[in-house]
Amino acid sequence: MKAMISLLKREFWEHKGMFLWTPLCVAAVIIFVFILPFLKGHALFGARILGRVAKFKEDIPRVSELLASMYLLFSGPLLVVMAIIIFFYCLGALFDDRRDRSILFWKSLPVSDFQTVLSKLITASLIVPVIFIMCAIAMSFVMLMIVGIALSSQGVYVFQDLFLNGKLYLAPLQLLGTLPVYILWALPSIGWLMLVSSWAHSRVFLWAVGIPLLLVFLVGMLDLLLGQNSDMKWFSDLIVGRALGGVFPGVWIEFEHIPLTSFTRPAGAGVDFGKVLSVSWQTLLSLQLWLGVVAAAGMFYMTVRLRRWREEA
C-alpha cells in the first residue's frame, strides 16, 4: 500500500503539468474568454437581448431552476481536454521511461511490474478524471456566478433562488457519480493504449491509431471484395471507437445508441443530471460493456508481461 502511494505520487510528479496545470490553465482561459463579452457589456448585447433578459424578472424561479440544473454543461470543454490528456498519458506511460532508459532505475527497486502498471492504470482511470472533474465543477460554478452577477446588473436577482435550489449542490455529485461508469467504458481504450505503450519501440501514436484503422480498412476491403456490402459501422465502432474513443466521457451514449432526449426534462426544462446519472448507470446492463472490461483485463495482463520481459535493443 505504501509502495502504491509512492508509485501514484511518482506519476503525479512526472506529469504535474498535464494533470494539474493543464486543467487549471484551460479553466482560467475559458473563464477569461467567457468574461470578455460581459465586460464589454452594452456594446455587445443589443437592446433586443437586454430586453429579453429584462423579461426574466417576471420568472426568476424558473430562470434560477434552469441555471442550477444546467450550469455543469459549462464543464464540457474541460472534459474533452481530459480525454485528450488521458489518451496521451496512456501512450507515454510505459514508453517514455523505456525511451530514456530510466526504466532501468525503476526496475532496480523492489516494485513488481504488476504494481507499476497498476499504478499507471489507476492514475489514468481514477486520479486524472477526479482532478479534471473537480476543476470542471469549480470552473462551472465560477461561470455560473459570472452569469448571476451579469443578470443582477440588469435587475434580475437570481442568487437567492439559486442558492436555495438543491440541484445546485446535487448536480456536481451526480456528475461525480457517473465516474464509475466512465471508468468501465474507458478501460478498453486505456488498456489498448497502455499495451501499445509497453510494446512499441517507437512511434506509439502511429501504432495505437494505425492498427485499429488498418484493421477496419482491411475488413472493409474484404467485405467489398466479397461483394457482401454489409453494414460496417458496428465493426468500426467496436474497433476504432472502443479501442480509442473510450476515454471520452459520455461516449457510451454513442455505443449504446441512447437518444439524447433521455437526459432532458419534459417541457424543455433542460438537461437533468439525475437522468444523466441513472441512464449512465443503466448501461452497466450492457453486455458489450462487460466484454470490453474482459478485453481490458486481458490487455492489462499482456502489458504487465511485456513490462516484465521486453528487452530493449
Binding site: A3, S6, L7, K9, R10, W13, K107, P110
Partner: protein, 293 residues
C-alpha cells in the same frame, strides 16, 4: 558471524550453463561461475560480447537458458523478492530527467524497506545537490552522486555496477570508487563491476572474470592470479631460457622483453629476470589471444 560452512555453501551468485541468443547471434555460450559473498568482482571483456547480458541475467532483466541462483533466488521467477536485496546502477544516464532530489528520496523511501534516508541525506549534504534540483539540470557527475547516495543508503547484499563511471571526468571517477569502498562495502556485501577503465578498479577488485565472445576466458581471485601469473622483465642473455618456459605472451617495453607466464614456479622465473605481478589489462590482453585456459 558467518560460519565457515556458510561461506562455502552460500554463493551469492551461482550460474550454471547460462546461454543466451539474440536472433542468430549467441551472446552467452554455456557460461558457469560462482561468486562468494564479500567479494568485489570485475567482469571484464570487450563491448557487446556478453558482459551486459550476464548482468541482465543476474538482475532478472532478460530471459536466458540455464540455471541461475542469486542469493538463493531465481532472478527470472523471483525477481520482485530479489530486488529487496540487490541494487544496480546500469549507466550514468538512467535517472529520470524530471525527478527532483527530494522526490527521488521520497520515492525510494516509499518503496524500499531497506533504505536509510538519513544516510542518503548525509551523503548528499557533502555535495552541491539541493533538494529542489532536477536531474535535468544536473551535470553527469552530479547525477551519479545522487544515484550513489540512493544506492549507498540501501542495505543490499549485492550491488551491480554496469559502467558506473562512463562519461565522468576523472575527479568524480576516483571519488566514486573511494566512496564505495569507504562508506558502503563490507564483508556482507558483494559488488560486481563492469567497466572499460580497468586500471581504475583494479586495486579494489578481489576477483576478476574475463568474458569474451560469450565465454568465460578466465575466472580467478586476485590472490590466485598473483600466484599463478607472473610477469618477467627478461634480461637479454636469458631469452632462450625464458622461451623454453613457454610464456603465454610477450611484448617489448623500453627495449626489454616482458613475458607473461602462467603457472610457472616463481623461483625459476626469478632466475631469468625481474618478476612482478601482471596488471589486469595485460593479463586480459594475453588471455584474449586464447592461450590461457
Amino acid at each position: 558471524m558467518i560460519s565457515v560452512t556458510d561461506t562455502v555453501t552460500s554463493s551469492v551468485i551461482s550460474a550454471r550453463s547460462i546461454s543466451k541468443q539474440y536472433g542468430k547471434q549467441r551472446v552467452l555460450d554455456d557460461v558457469s561461475f560462482e561468486i562468494a559473498p564479500g567479494r568485489i568482482v570485475g567482469l571484464i571483456g570487450p563491448n557487446g560480447l556478453g558482459k551486459t547480458t550476464t548482468l541482465k541475467a543476474i538482475l532478472g532483466l532478460g530471459n536466458f537458458d540455464g540455471e541461475m541462483q542469486v542469493l538463493g533466488l531465481d532472478p527470472r521467477t523471483q525477481r520482485d523478492a530479489l530486488m529487496n536485496e540487490v541494487c544496480f546502477i546500469a549507466d550514468v544516464a538512467i535517472l529520470p530527467r524530471w525527478i527532483k532530489v527530494k522526490q527521488a528520496l521520497d520515492f525510494v523511501a516509499g518503496v524500499h524497506p531497506k533504505f536509510n534516508r538519513a544516510k542518503a541525506e548525509k551523503y548528499l549534504a557533502n555535495t552541491k545537490l539541493s533538494p529542489d534540483m532536477k536531474v535535468k539540470s544536473m551535470s553527469k557527475g552530479m547525477v551519479v552522486q545522487l544515484h550513489l547516495a540512493l544506492i549507498m543508503a540501501i542495505d543490499a547484499k549485492l550491488l551491480v555496477l554496469d559502467e558506473p563511471t562512463l562519461g565522468l571526468d576523472i575527479l568524480y571517477r576516483k571519488q566514486f570508487y573511494q566512496n564505495l569502498l569507504e562508506d558502503y562495502f563490507d564483508e556482507n556485501k558483494t559488488i560486481i563491476i563492469t567497466t572499460h577503465q580497468v586500471e581504475e578498479v583494479e586495486h579494489i577488485l578481489s576477483d576478476v572474470i574475463f568474458i569474451d565472445d560469450g565465454k568465460i576466458v578466465l575466472e580467478t581471485s586476485m590472490e590466485q592470479m598473483a600466484e599463478r601469473f607472473v610477469e618477467v622483465l627478461v634480461a637479454p642473455e636469458n631469452m632462450e631460457k625464458a622461451l623454453a618456459l613457454q610464456p603465454m605472451d610477450q611484448r617489448a617495453v623500453f627495449g626489454k622483453v616482458v613475458m607473461l607466464f602462467d603457472g610457472v614456479a616463481q623461483e625459476m622465473l626469478a632466475n631469468i629476470g625481474e618478476t612482478r605481478i601482471p596488471g589486469v589489462v595485460d593479463l586480459f590482453v594475453a588471455s584474449m589471444k586464447g592461450v590461457a585456459k
